[in-house]
Symmetry: D2
Subunit: 291 residues, 4 copies
């Protein structure tokens, strides 16, 4: 059965951005065609505003005569020619995602479910938390759990420890799955573009603490959640994904918190998937999300 | 055919808010039952936060032995007993809605269509604009059109003229259907709760001018519109209705402006309908919208 | 802090439907007021089509001089007078929900998360499955797990066993959380209005097997899920809740299945919550969902 | 101002589908690059199911040394080589859209508004109706109006007359904007892929007559609308766009009809825009809508 497919074939993903000009697509697709590359999916965006060009291509791995490193080596001259910011990834190599969590576990449950059925096909080398609540669930799934308490006085040590655990576990991406601590600017800067947060409001509305309360008292008719890259400025990083849901006058702050969990889970999962599939390219403080 | 109904029966709408306590519904529904009142629809809300109670009832007019004035007279003692802020309206009396518009006509077209097919069953005594663009369309519909130019120097005169036209036309409600002038504080205060505006962002994000540009440069993934009561503070009034639509990295400010029209029309129409049906009760700076 | 509230107070929920006539609300609210009942929330619906009246009231438990049984006894004459189909429940008594599941665990994970944080405040006396996949997760949560295999030949015994387990566990409600067997007509009839299913399409489109494939080949632009009461006719029961999400030409059947999980989880959770809060009243083959 | 842009530049749109194979993008983008073509926007889709490839490119007109006919002539050999089903259009040439309407005018009002402000930048050579209701509005806009009555006995003549008017007016596209007659199979076949209809349900649910009534009696929680190409089989053509809105138990068939107008307008406008921008490619009975 065709539309159904079985397992997807192994493929390489090439993605890049560069200054816009004539001939980029021709050069890249010509390079691929010259080596017999079968394009499974390709998308691109030319940004009027920044005059930058963004592209992402999936190529069937066995249509090319290269393993990833050789492909990178052969593509490098093209990349240089167009001054590209680029990467090539291999669908056979799982991304390593470290999850940070506090006491609310809905995003964690949600990610673990997507991981166990391979909907999101990643390795989770460990989960880190400033509380013990998640330990049992995480360890039951066979994933190491690290308790790193954070207090007003121990922040530098705590963030250093998180940094060490992330590095040690070979993490590619750090996910703040309702982690209720503000990471240090140093950590934000060090892993720029690799830390995703889920903020429980429709940014730029209601930055900072207690967004559902803010939403309640402003009387909005929809509440939302935002998945964004973490930067040094709180809740100001490039937005990857957002969504909203309708509320009414009968809903209390308690209700908003409860309902909001559903959007938080979904928006984080969608944003993370796009990030892991190398679909998200940063364009100033905005993102290009190529399908 | 039953679910279809024919024309709806004439009905009276009673709506009120008052301090919450035991026995309000019993007293009001008892009053109606004692006079044979057939309740078509009723809804209520007890606000935990402000300890205020809100209620709206539709009663079949011919089930009561009263014309509206007599009904008001008989109900007044009940209202006093519970310290109600109340009104009774009659579905047979059309509300009079004055529309203010500038050069963009999409909300005006939309409202005229709803008016011509009686989806919104109102009188439009006149349309007022600071430009001439809408005149032809308005007059073709048989509605008087008034051009009231607004310049930096003539604002007081212009707003006085609008006030005069509104009063003279017996207007109940003033709708700013993408009217690009900021009304004077005096006018806002005089008609508090009777002037509706459509703001082209998902408030509280992007107040003030050029919200679509603000949205573009912040890189949000959804744009929205907000229908709210006009108060003296710009874009800060109680929100009646909001909605959003999804955008992507490929959409320019031009596109946002174009797409946004659809939400603006729909949100304004829904908010206005709820207002006209006496469903919207102000609760501090929030609204209760009873179905 | 007010809008936030702490734990909610204990309350009784009275809900009923009856033939529509004058004086129902007055009689019910009068009854409550006579005993000092403080109404927290009340909603009602008069169905034009069936001429039936539906009502649901939450009353603060300690405002009444009754425990639930005494309240039922005192209210019974009123119920008889209006020929009501009625029930009174007590927020202090947790509903008992038995979950049936097969091999896909996303709805189960989702419900367990909502249960562990008491978002849905129920008892789960057991989980039943025709496969062993869920055992570990369920038992880790301290919930009994029963494996009841279903084969073409053993259906009668299997369904008898499910019936026995449900009865033995004192279940109020049975939830088919992507349970991939069709219950016997006898079981459907026996627990009419107490078995909820999540169907993975926007009913009435795509009844029966493989709805995502059907959706793919019809080329729809949105896919959906439906939570409904199970009746003897497959996928024809009264609909409690539905929702949809947007798909595109680039999405394969595999993708639809994957994306669809998010709507299934959310729609089932919302439908179940409404059911458990006694908000869902059946009106012929439709439902009234009172807020 | 950058993100804002002024008027967009003149551009050519090339769109095609062909059997999928290696080197298509390279050949097409190579052809464009060889002539200095500046790609403004490009998107493509490789269909796993039908093994067909779909592509759409916008090229800045003045970056190429060709007028459209010369471009077509130069591109023809490429098209033959890959067995393409293709077209090239010119943004400077307005499409000609004939609108058919009956007595409900909301879609017509909506399209006229989009036309008058050039949101949809088309020519409307005429409007055709089986009733006189729309005449005044249409003629006030300076557009010819043709009354072509359709009765049980005069269908062949009526459809022949519609065919004649469409041909005479040089129409590219025919839009059934709530036109309540079923076109003859001959007309459907003659203009396959050029006639758009708006059906007032979320197809494939509720085909044929009175979809809102069908939706009401089935008790669905969302209603929808579908924009599709007209084929000889009623309501079975390829779907271009769909959307839904939430309804509740309190909404009668009358309400559904009223609310549904908003989705109908929006879905038709979006579908039509995509069609006019040459974004919609038919793939069997499904569509590919390239952004």
């Amino acid at each position: 059965m065709t539309g159904m497919g079985g397992e997807r074939h192994r493929y390489y993903t090439l993605r890049f951005s560069c200054p816009d000009r004539t001939g980029i697509v021709a050069r890249v697709s010509g390079f691929l065609a010259d080596h017999g590359g079968w394009i499974l999916r390709s998308s691109q965006h030319a940004d009027e505003d920044t005059q930058r060009f963004f592209m992402r291509v999936e190529v069937k791995a066995d249509s090319l005569p290269f393993e990833p490193d050789a492909l990178r080596e052969h593509f490098a001259p093209v990349a240089r020619e167009f001054d590209m910011d680029w990467l090539i990834s291999d669908s056979a190599v799982k991304k390593r995602v470290v999850i940070l969590v506090s006491r609310q576990l809905h995003c964690l449950y949600d990610l673990l479910e997507r991981w166990q059925c391979r909907e999101i096909d990643i390795d989770i080398p460990c989960v880190i938390s400033n509380h013990e609540d998640a330990r049992g669930l995480v360890e039951w799934h066979g994933i190491p759990f690290h308790h790193v308490p954070v207090t007003a006085n121990t922040k530098p040590e705590a963030f250093a420890e998180i940094d060490r655990l992330f590095a040690e576990s070979g993490g590619d991406t750090m996910v703040l799955a309702r982690y209720m601590q503000i990471l240090s600017p140093a950590l934000c800067a060090k892993y720029l573009g690799r830390i995703l947060n889920i903020h429980h409001s429709f940014l730029p509305s209601f930055v900072g603490a207690r967004p559902y309360e803010q939403a309640y008292y402003r009387g909005v008719k929809l509440i939302g959640a935002t998945c964004h890259y973490v930067t040094e400025e709180l809740d100001q990083g490039p937005i990857i994904e957002q969504d909203v849901m309708r509320i009414g006058h009968g809903d209390t702050v308690r209700d908003l918190i409860r309902f909001g969990k559903d959007i938080e889970k979904m928006v984080l999962a969608r944003g993370l998937r796009n990030h892991l599939e190398d679909r998200v390219l940063v364009n100033g403080n905005r993102t290009v999300v190529l399908r």
